[in-house]
């Protein structure tokens, strides 16, 4: 059902994809202080990939992603669980947030950020898993 789209769609998808992904990263990183965060950013990124999928079809999207969306889910969950460990190391209760400032650039790294990246990956992975599965069954029917 999903086949290569019109010229306008393909060109737009190709141009928009990096912008949308960049925007999703922007939302992800600023999310702690301004509207945004891992969940929203993940939805934006999945929207970007979905657009690409409509323009170029499932196989091209798989090829561009290079990793399976299911692996993204696994990676995201691992990051989420992993972000709970530094607190354990500090002898603090489970899941206590840890904050560090990276000296030169003054960037504030933290376990909530790590956790948010986990959320981001899980959202992208889950949405894409569902969408690509639907597209794949379409192709088998065709």
């Amino acid at each position: 059902m999903v086949r290569s789209g019109t010229l306008i769609l393909s060109v737009a998808a190709r141009l928009l994809l990096p912008l949308q992904l960049l925007f999703s990263l922007f939302l992800l990183l600023r999310g702690h202080d301004e509207p945004g965060g891992g969940f929203i950013a993940g939805l934006v990124a999945s929207g970007a990939f979905a657009l690409y999928l409509f323009a170029y079809g499932g196989r091209a999207t798989h090829a561009m992603l290079k990793v399976s969306p299911r692996d993204l889910i696994g990676l995201g969950l691992t990051l989420g669980v992993f972000s709970t460990l530094p607190a354990l190391w500090q002898g603090e209760p489970f899941f206590t947030a840890q904050w560090w400032t990276i000296p030169v650039i003054g960037f504030k790294a933290s376990t909530p950020l790590l956790f948010d990246i986990g959320v981001y990956l899980v959202v992208i992975g889950s949405v894409l898993t569902a969408i690509t599965a639907l597209v794949d069954t379409d192709r088998e029917d065709a």
Binding site: M1, V2, G31, H32, D33, E34, P35, G36, G37, G38, F39, I40, L43, V44, S46, G47, A50, F54, P69, R70, I73, G76, L77, G80, V81, T84, G91, P93, F94, F95, A97, W99, K108, S110, P112, L113, F115, D116, G118, V119, V122, V123, G125, S126, V127, T129, A130, I131, A133, L134, V135, D136, T137, D138, E140, D141
Partner: protein
């Protein structure tokens, strides 16, 4: 120590890697882990011997009172030592038993994981932690029983073991919750000091019942004994380790641990001593009907577990001394005998003792080891088993209630056990050499070392039981019997227990001589035996499958409208009931809205009505979209940008998903009759009214301090973020988010599985998988 146990799980995970480096020697390398932990434990002996408990504190989830604190007193020290010592020997044994087996790495992963779980179980001070480790032992046991998973009977046995022990685990959890509520603490060290308060608590009987079900299922007490012999489908090292020396003793361990807290009442004494005594006799009686060497040993394990339970039930200091002596003796000889059984199976290719004979000519060393261990099982001097049995008989004779029943069952068990010992240790080795499927050779040294060491210890401690005095004193101190003088001795003088022993020796030998004829007689009892507890288990499982099928057909028939109606009606019933009868619904909420808010609300209503009446699917989707975007607008109006963005994005993605599925759906059709539509309207209307009332009540009643105030105040100072929504998601309630991440991942996997399944089954609606082989 906690780090060592947790690290042990890591080592378990690394076993396949180690196997790549060390090959067939991996089990030997891995046995260094329990060996080193054992040396550390032995170093604690001076403290343990002084009767003190070591408390290694480690907070885990302080907010929920869950700790990883380890409590090492005489009782847990003894158990830990047995777990590690026998564990190390079993690993060495496995190296030869599963030599060259392709699944050796998998076996080692689970075995080490079991070892650590079991260690955690006996050392845990916190009830929750103990329960986690308890369940872990059930799961690892399941994986080990089903090790040969290509074999249907092994799978069935594994499931049976899991269902029985995990089902008991549920009762145990309920018991733990009651125990913690009644005692006001989750710490065993504290609970054992509040015995009087617990025994007089109103929840004492239900709590005791739940805990006993948990302990009895795990320790294979009647009527849950049947899973243990089935578990013999596991490879023999597992039978020797899990199903005789360690895991099945977890229930007994727990009872011993709780003895100071709950013991001493009539309910405790009667249930434990009678169930224990009955289990003893049943186990011994069922044992002699089998010719499979592992089943014989398994039933005699059931008998031994019954003995331990009975001794705890009697609960006198003498009985507790007998408990410790018998526990130690049993672990030593039964571990050895199972390993010998494995050797026989490995060398001859059969497990049936009637097919073996004269093996002492080809495997003399194994014959000696078997004889020593079996003599201990039979309770013959000068072995530790004799010391244990004499003490046990003495305690049974001193029983104050139901003395005749207990002594009678004990004596029956004693002479039948003697027959079992003779069958296991003499039948295969004496008489004429028989042909077996494989030509037997002497066992490899790795396989012989373990049983030889255990049998040697049985002999050593039998000859010098006085060496155990200190250990017994320290252990029963953990059981609540302090300041009791203990002098274990081989010779107690000519007394009633000795007379009983002699009588049972004579009877046992008679049974052994006429075993073949006796079995033929007993075979006639089969139809009666077939109605035992195992049949009850089968019926229960079949009933459960039938009930599951019925409720699946009723509730999950694949029609979304039915799901919705069930969900809404449940919601209506529960929330509506609470709203109407518990809290009077609050109706005086000043309803005032700005014009633009009214417009948005009107849009939502219009969208909803349109979605219901549209006769084109695309139009209905658009109408639902109107509602979604209106909700986003509401979020904007009430300054919740994060929610608005999320809502808009979700709407967008919904469109994408709809585009993908829209073409696959059948033509729009009206499936429901006017009556059904009227019914749906009523349910939907009632739900709407109820939600409205609920909102009014929430807005009207400012009973509790609002959590949002806390969040606004603490978001920046504690969470280092200005976006409160995000701080809640990733910091304050991050645990919930983590749970939701898993839900999302599971949902995605579910979608994938459903679509794949759908595609593979040729486009027909998926039918629920039937689990006919679950039995």
């Amino acid at each position: 120590m906690q780090l060592a146990v947790l690290g042990g799980f890591v080592v378990a995970g690394m076993a396949p890697l180690l196997h790549r480096w060390f090959g067939a020697r991996t089990p030997l390398v891995l046995s260094l882990l329990p060996a080193s932990m054992m040396i550390w434990l032995l170093g604690l002996w001076p403290v343990i011997a002084s009767g003190e408990a070591v408390l290694l504190e480690w907070a885990w989830v302080p907010g929920l009172d869950i700790t990883l604190t380890f409590l090492i007193d005489g009782l847990s020290w003894l158990f830990a030592l047995l777990i590690l010592g026998i564990g190390a020997l079993v690993l060495v044994y496995t190296g030869d038993y599963l030599h060259g087996h392709q699944d050796l790495p998998r076996f080692l992963v689970v075995l080490i994981a079991f070892m650590m779980s079991m260690l955690g179980l006996v050392l845990s001070d916190n009830l929750v932690t103990l329960f986690v480790f308890w369940e872990l032992t059930s799961i690892t046991s399941f994986l080990l029983i089903g090790f040969h998973h290509g074999d249907l009977s092994a799978r069935k046995a594994a499931q049976q073991g899991l269902y029985v022990t995990a089902g008991g685990g549920l009762a145990l959890l309920a018991g733990f919750v009651m125990l913690a509520q009644a005692g006001g603490s989750w710490s065993l060290a504290e609970l054992t000091m509040r015995g009087d308060a617990l025994r007089s608590h109103a929840l004492y009987l239900p709590m005791l019942f739940c805990l006993l079900v948990g302990a009895f299922t795990k320790s294979a007490q009647f009527p849950f004994h049947f899973w243990l012999p089935s578990a013999m489908a596991a490879p023999t090292p597992v039978s020797a380790y899990l199903h005789s020396a360690t895991m099945v003793k977890a229930g007994v361990f727990l009872l011993a641990r709780l003895h100071p807290a709950l013991g001493g009442t009539d309910a405790w004494t009667l249930s434990l001593s009678l169930v224990g005594a009955f289990t003893m006799a049943t186990g011994a009686f069922l044992a002699i009907q089998h010719t499979n060497i592992k089943k014989l040993l398994a039933y005699s394990t059931v008998m031994a577990l019954g003995t331990l339970t009975m001794l705890l039930g009697l609960g006198t200091p003498e009985a507790l001394v007998a408990f410790v002596a018998f526990l130690l003796a049993h672990s030593l000889y039964k571990g050895a005998l199972f390993m010998v059984a494995g050797i026989l199976d490995h060398e001859t290719g059969t497990k049936d003792v009637t097919h073996m004979g004269g093996l002492r000519h080809v495997m003399p060393r194994t014959a000696v080891v078997a004889a020593v261990a079996a003599l201990s099982l039979a309770g013959m001097p000068p072995l530790l088993g004799f010391v244990g049995k004499e003490l046990m008989l003495e305690s049974a004779l001193a029983a104050t209630q139901y003395r005749v029943v207990i002594v009678g069952l004990t004596s029956v068990a004693a002479f039948l056990t003697l027959a079992v010992a003779a069958i296991v240790a003499f039948r295969p080795f004496y008489g004429a050499l028989r042909r077996t499927p494989r030509t037997p050779h002497e066992a490899p040294p790795g396989m012989l070392a373990g049983p030889a060491l255990l049998a040697g210890l049985s002999l050593l401690f039998g000859l010098a039981p006085g060496w155990l005095d200190g250990l017994v004193v320290a252990t029963i101190a953990g059981l609540g019997a302090t300041d009791h003088d203990v002098h274990l001795a081989l010779w107690h003088g000519i007394n009633l227990p000795l007379v009983l022993s002699l009588v049972s020796l004579a009877l046992g030998l008679m049974v052994w001589r006429r075993w073949d004829r006796l079995r033929a007689h007993l075979a006639r009892l089969r139809p009666f035996m077939a109605r035992g507890p195992e049949a009850g288990y089968e019926a229960l499982m079949a009933g459960m499958v039938a009930a599951a099928e019925w409720q699946t057909r009723m509730l999950q028939n694949g029609h979304i409208r039915n799901y919705l109606i069930v969900t809404l009606l449940t919601l209506l019933g529960l929330v509506g009931h609470a709203l109407l009868f518990r809290h009077a619904p609050n109706l005086n909420v000043p309803v005032a809205a700005y014009p633009h808010e009214a417009v948005v609300a009107g849009l939502m209503v219009a969208g909803a009505v349109a979605a219901c009446v549209m006769r084109s699917r695309l139009a209905a989707v658009a109408a639902v979209g109107i509602m979604g975007f209106s909700v986003a607008l509401v979020f904007v109006l009430f300054s919740a940008p994060d929610l608005a963005i999320t809502q808009l994005l979700v709407e967008t993605l919904t469109v994408i998903l709809l585009v993908l599925v829209l073409f696959r759906l059948p033509r729009f059709a009206t499936l429901s009759t006017p009556t059904e539509r009227a019914r749906d309207l009523v349910v939907a209307g009632l739900s709407g009214i109820m939600i409205t009332l609920l909102m009014f009540s929430v807005l009207g009643g400012e009973r509790l301090p609002r959590i949002s105030d806390f969040l606004v105040a603490n978001s920046q100072p504690q969470g280092h973020g200005h976006n409160i929504v995000n701080v809640i998601l990733v910091d304050f309630r991050a645990l919930d988010t983590l749970g939701e991440m898993f839900v999302l991942a599971l949902a995605a996997i579910g979608v994938l599985a459903m679509l794949r399944f759908h595609a593979e089954s040729g486009g027909t609606a998926p039918t629920p998988p039937r689990e006919s082989e679950n039995g």
